[in-house]
Symmetry: C2
Subunit: 331 residues, 2 copies
């Protein structure tokens, strides 16, 4: 028998196969690979990228040369351009605008072949600090309404370069998915005077069956309404709408739970590709986001999205999240 | 410079790369392949599938044996089960239900290696007639609110079997994507007293630059707000909310434009995988769908969806639809 589950925030339904659930060995995924060759993100090739916007580097080393730990540069092929003002106009039925925004690349480590599980905790903390610093800096630009930090790892996840890196995009409007998530959370807040994510943390901690890991500041779990098999959310226990307001002790706890959670996943699925996205509040003030709670959504690329998902917005999930969490706890 | 475009129905934004647009040769896609071997959808293997629900077959041939042209069977691994009533319930914060619905497979042709461009027009008409017949039959079941017809072709598009087939899913609720599309169209209708899709047809026919093909009853074009490079919509010129009310002369015109459009795409991108979905009104009466207009959305699998798209609902489109239509017209 299959089971339908409804996302309490956005109203999306998923179909969970509880009858013939997929085991880890059932997934045929395209493994990520690290080939050697000329990589613009490796030491010595700093001139192949635009100049550094922000960096953490060894003392006495020079900008745009080796000696850095984390390096942020403009995307050489940006989706949006930093210059100009937003110019919205109509063409008959349609609306359009010029593409104003920012598109930065954060090179997480000098090591070409080290993904998050292979890094030291303080190396992960370093790039989380730069996620934060870039978000705060871009938020000062009044043209930008939303800053999105995300990572594509492996070709199957859409990464065009292998060297581990994240992306930071500043957008001139709040994107539809974010807007709907915030609106859904705010509706719940207006009705119950409680944060739906805090309620979720309480229920997950109590029921335990979907929890993977927990520390003083964070919980990692497979969400009840997963859109993908082995989807994972990492959520701060402290209610806060904005990732960029994270406290130093939380950075260190986040580095640790991120590393341990991804390690577990990669033990189960060696060389799996994945995406993660930091879900956070828009930059334009804190009004109407009391009910919002930042978190990270993590999606391993084990399956392909097909016509049914594209057409309906329903998702077919072949491994129930309870079972996925059990497999992840076990490794 | 890139360009932002806003979907006038759902409010989704896309980012179009107008500065360095991708040419057809720039896409590295995973080609679809037809391997031989035991295929449950080939002649002689009819016992490997559940029994026929509907069929078009040669006179004097027996059910569930060779001699058919189009064959509809239950999915052996259905996402939803046909038995039982919907039983919605809550678990703490979450909503769930049992998975009531129907999940059928329509085998389009007895030929293992013939995709739509390789079929005769009347062979395509035959499976379109069965799309329609199954939709009308499933709509009689009062438990079902929505019937979705779609096709996954090639592994990159999520097809697990190569033999050309479509799927028909009956759902106990109107899916979120469909609901939003209908609501968006209805808002426009309430405001303007016109169908937004009819307006779109008028504008596309007038501007011509996004049109691929046209016949008496249909237009195929690259939509102004494409989510994917070389996305194609096929739209009936006659305003009608439901695909299943299609007239016989329209079936024949649809077979012809479907074949010619996919042929053009496959000339440009040999062995490309693709999904298409018939967007149609819910089955529960015609109230509040005056502003809706059925159509087919066709998505070739040339790129991968990455973290930015998942997180934001923005889509990055590397070939402007105007240019895509020009390439498609040229072959």
């Amino acid at each position: 028998m299959s089971e339908l589950r409804r996302d309490p925030i956005g109203g999306r339904w998923i179909i969970v196969d509880t009858d013939h659930p997929s085991k880890p060995a059932d997934f045929e995924y395209e493994p990520s690979a690290f080939r050697q060759g000329i990589c613009p993100f490796c030491y010595g090739n700093e001139s192949m990228t635009p100049p550094e916007i922000d960096v953490i580097r060894d003392p006495y080393t020079h900008p745009n040369t080796a000696g850095w730990q984390v390096r942020v540069v403009s995307n050489k092929f940006p989706a949006l351009q930093i210059e100009g003002d937003l110019d919205r106009r109509g063409i008959g039925l349609y609306d359009m605008s010029n593409g104003v925004g920012a598109h930065e690349i954060l090179i997480e480590t000098p090591y070409h072949s080290k993904d998050i599980p292979d890094l030291l905790n303080n190396e992960i903390e370093n790039f989380l600090i730069l996620y934060c610093r870039r978000s705060l800096d871009l938020a000062k630009d009044k043209r930008f309404k939303y800053i999105m930090v995300f990572k594509n790892f492996g070709a199957a996840a859409g990464a065009s370069l292998e060297h581990p890196h994240s992306q930071i995009i500043a957008l001139p409007m709040v994107p539809k998915n974010v807007y709907e998530e915030i609106k859904g959370a705010q509706n719940f807040f207006n009705f119950r005077e409680r944060c739906i994510f805090c309620d979720m943390l309480r229920q997950e901690t109590q029921e335990k069956e979907r929890v993977i890991l927990e520390n003083n500041y964070f919980l990692s779990f497979c969400p009840f309404v997963s859109r993908f098999p082995f989807e994972i959310w990492i959520m701060p226990k402290k209610h806060s709408a904005s990732f960029s307001r994270i406290a130093p002790e939380e950075i260190s706890a986040l580095a640790s739970i991120l590393k341990d959670t991804i390690s577990k996943l990669k033990n189960l699925f060696p060389n799996v590709s994945y995406n993660y996205i930091i879900h956070t509040a828009p930059t334009n003030g804190e009004s109407d986001v009391e009910g919002y709670h930042w978190h990270i959504e993590f999606m391993p690329k084990l399956t392909r999205v097909a016509g049914f998902e594209w057409g309906s917005g329903f998702y077919l999930v072949s491994t129930p999240p309870e079972l996925a969490a059990q497999y992840l706890r076990g490794v």
